[in-house]
């Protein structure tokens, strides 16, 4: 049973060069958890992936590539539940059109599908000054 309580709160510029940093934080959390009984390396890849996808979406679709904007990311683990929130400060995007698996030869739109496949719950809601993409997974 996972007893770790972790809260990570990070703000980075709205630039893809920071994807690696955010992805690595996810990987390191997976490797650090005290009592995780599943495949730790798979969890590390999955957290790297969902954080990378959520942040890339915020940069490209919500903040529309504006490098002066910020992406705000919260990662928390409480009572064996991992919650990731990615806040953007832009116009948002239509998350529903990407939920279904894409045709294999589509070049875009796999990110949301991957997040839905890996996490238990995914939602995208407006906030006061943007949107928040929230994902959760029971560990």
């Amino acid at each position: 049973m996972i007893t770790d309580r972790i809260a990570v709160d990070i703000k980075v510029p709205n630039q893809t060069r920071y994807l690696r940093l955010i992805g690595h934080i996810g990987e390191n959390i997976a490797r650090t958890l005290r009592d995780y009984s599943g495949d730790r390396e798979k969890l590390a890849y999955d957290l790297n992936l969902v954080l990378t996808e959520a942040m890339a979406n915020a940069i490209q679709h919500a903040n529309v590539g504006d490098p002066t904007k910020e992406v705000h990311i919260e990662i928390s683990i409480v009572a064996q539940c991992l919650i990731i929130r990615v806040y953007d400060f832009g116009i948002g995007f239509d998350v529903k059109q990407y939920v279904e698996p894409r045709h294999p030869l589509d070049e875009h739109g796999r990110g949301i599908y991957l997040m839905h496949t890996i996490m238990d719950e995914v939602s995208y809601q407006p906030t006061e000054n943007g949107h928040v993409l929230e994902m959760s997974k029971n560990l």
């Binding site: 690696r20 992805g23 890849y45 990378t52 996808e53 890339a56 294999p104 070049e107 990110g111």
Partner: protein, 113 residues
């Protein structure tokens, strides 16, 4: 992006020398592939041996290259996929689209047949 490009005759080998192929660098891979297509080099091998992480943008860039190669009567084949990278192709059903080889030598041999 750190990319080694070598013309092997039957195909051009593109070895991605990055730990990650993601939304930060996949556009650059696409650009390099387009340049090769413009030069009439339509048979490509993308070797991912050094890559331990691919996201949806990385997959999208490879799909784009595959479609471009196919439309020019060429092919884009992959080699050297690490286990977790291979899982990404399975999760997105892309393992049915690409010819995937253990190493670049095998991929090259398949072009020479």
């Amino acid at each position: 992006m750190n990319l080694q490009i070598e013309d092997k005759g039957a195909a051009v080998l593109m070895a991605v020398q990055e730990e990650r192929l993601d939304a930060h660098n996949s556009g650059e891979l696409k650009k390099h592939m387009l340049k090769l297509f413009e030069e009439g080099k339509n048979n490509l091998i993308v070797d991912l041996q050094a890559v331990r992480f691919v996201d949806s943008s990385g997959l999208g860039a490879l799909v784009s290259g595959f479609k471009n190669a196919s439309s020019r009567n060429g092919n884009l084949k992959l080699s050297g996929l690490q286990l977790q990278v291979k899982s990404m192709f399975e999760l997105t059903r892309l393992h049915r689209v690409f010819e995937i080889y253990t190493d670049s030598g095998e991929a090259l041999a398949s072009f020479q047949q």
